[in-house]
Symmetry: C2
Subunit: 199 residues, 2 copies
């Protein structure tokens, strides 16, 4: 990583790379187990520059916890706007989240493990984004029910059960595992779609 600093200075992805490197370190050693000097070394920045780009350690934790979630909300909103058919919308939402989890496994590990260390507005934002994301899945289920395509006795509970199947993969999904995340997504969709199809 030596010398990266100079190269990265003009790099628009700099913040993202800092967040990614910090996520890897936090995922390996725990948010509370990582000291500031270790962090500086991992992201190849001195303390002043690190504070300049990110802020303090909690701000960095926030960036790690919020980045993949923000991306998911953005992607899911785009999918919901683009795909009308509720089954196909579920499939695209599922593929998008499993690709995201595989690509950001360190971030999701830190997210679920350490979001409780966030405080105030940062914690509220993370929880609100989770709610927003869940809402997109809930609306998909509702859309299918309204068209007589799906049946679910309790929309909230069913949505949470379905989402659990995908969200819990942070614990084991390998980015270079034997099966492509998109294929896992399709299999999980086969599993739950059969359970909610009407008729």
């Amino acid at each position: 990583m030596a010398g990266e600093g100079a190269r990265v200075r003009r790099d628009p992805h700099r913040k993202r790379r800092i967040v990614h490197a910090a996520a890897e370190l936090f995922a390996a050693q725990g948010y509370h187990g990582v000291g500031m000097s270790q962090l500086e070394k991992a992201v190849d920045l001195q303390r002043g520059a690190l504070y300049h780009h990110i802020g303090n350690k909690e701000a960095l934790l926030y960036e790690i916890a919020v980045s993949p979630l923000q991306e998911m909300v953005r992607l899911a909103s785009e999918i919901a706007a683009r795909i009308d058919d509720p089954e196909e919308r579920f499939r695209e939402l599922a593929r998008a989240i499993l690709v995201n989890v595989a690509d950001n496994r360190h971030e999701w590990t830190v997210h679920y493990r350490d979001f409780g260390s966030l405080t105030g507005e940062r914690l509220e934002t993370v929880l609100a984004l989770r709610g927003e994301y869940e809402q997109i899945w809930r609306d998909t289920l509702r859309a299918g029910i309204e068209r007589g395509r799906f049946v679910a006795p309790d929309v909230d509970l069913t949505t949470r059960g379905i989402l659990g199947m995908f969200n819990h993969t942070w614990l084991w999904l390998e980015p270079d595992g034997a099966v492509d995340p998109r294929e896992i997504a399709d299999r999980y969709c086969d599993l739950f779609l059969t359970g909610i199809r009407a008729g």
Copy 2:
């Protein structure tokens, strides 16, 4: 741990109560955010007695992370031995885990959030128990497939997807929520059983 036998004999639930109180505190403030003196106050023991009953702080984290999981493995093994029908076995396994999550939500919160702070043999034991527990669900799926009752293209992936639905409830399941955990379990079983039924 020397001498624990004698003391615990007079209050068999004492250790469990210590673990429960500590879990509540860790769940609220984070394992790393709780100091020893705060812990002593919460479990109403002085440091010497606390060390006598549990050991150090990591030993207490281990007890919290391992207790509900050990109970699940014990219960699930008993269910697997008792119930032959694979669908009914899944239903009982599902009810048992959701009741367990609802009853031990603090423990599961600490489990998923802080198991990464465990080291050496303690971490290995937790991971081995998780594997053992997953194996019981996998065997249930396999038993159903062998009898021509279930179909699953990839037993490992399907097992993990199904389990994710139940395990991820640590994040939101309320012990006194509107719906009984056993009923939630049945609904989730309806959801995935339809997806794996043969024919």
